[in-house]
Symmetry: C2
Subunit: 153 residues, 2 copies
């Protein structure tokens, strides 16, 4: 491995994965703390995607940890291809989910003039969309680094 920072198996990659997992969990918690999210397709989509991102990020974080501490240079091209594919697909899905949730929250606040958004409900949806957006950003960084590494192998 030629030590591209951020590629699979480096400490920068581990940090990115942990960040993705933390933001995804935060997004999921903000969305699921009330039980009304399943009335809206966009929010269900967000919950589904965040439920996919969390195990993916944690699994790859474990691979990174293993690679850092046991010093096994697991730089097989086929494994890296699978990781890059999964990263890209999840990255696009989480971008779509976060922008959908953000726009639906915006519309809900606008249409009802505040009557729909009782108490802190809409604020929670906004926070959830923001967390999903941050998770997408870290996921994009991971996938760019891994794609670059794959292309320069």
């Amino acid at each position: 491995m030629d030590e591209l920072p951020g590629a699979l198996g480096t400490s920068a990659s581990l940090a990115l994965r942990l960040g993705q997992a933390i933001f995804s969990i935060a997004s999921l918690l903000f969305m699921c703390l009330d039980v009304e999210f399943y009335s809206y397709t966009a929010f269900c989509f967000l919950v589904t995607i965040m439920g996919l991102v969390i195990p993916w990020s944690l699994t790859l974080a474990m691979v990174d940890t293993f690679s850092i501490f046991v010093k096994r240079p697991s730089c097989q091209s086929r494994i890296l291809s699978i990781v890059v594919m999964g990263d890209w697909i999840l990255s696009f899905l989480s971008l779509a989910a976060s922008s959908s949730s953000a726009s639906v929250t915006d519309l809900l606040m606008m249409v009802s003039g505040g009557s729909f958004c009782r108490a802190k409900l809409c604020g929670r949806y906004q926070l959830s969309a923001a967390m999903a957006f941050l998770s997408w950003f870290l996921s994009l960084a991971s996938s760019l680094f891994n794609l670059w590494h794959l292309a320069s192998l």
Copy 2:
């Protein structure tokens, strides 16, 4: 140029660019044929992004045409970097815009139980979001090919 199909200056790239421009124009037309789109943030976002994608795709289509017919191998790394950056940014923006529009249209159809969506209005919004999604897909293909080409230079 080592003739990677789909990279800047090839006929496959020209086809991709023309496809992006056609789908973006179709999306813009479906959205703008009625004048109610500016009431909703997501639809304004879609119109803005499609208004950016169209000149970008047409400019790069002209570059491709020039490169194909005049046979100038304009494979400078700096120009390719700018093209890749622009492609990626527009690709993410158009994915966000199309998924936002799709989810807002879905919510509008659901909330009002059909009373909001008179005549063909919601059908047009859906078509517009679908066209934007197709435009995103072609834009993604272009940017992947160009990034791969840039990384293997």
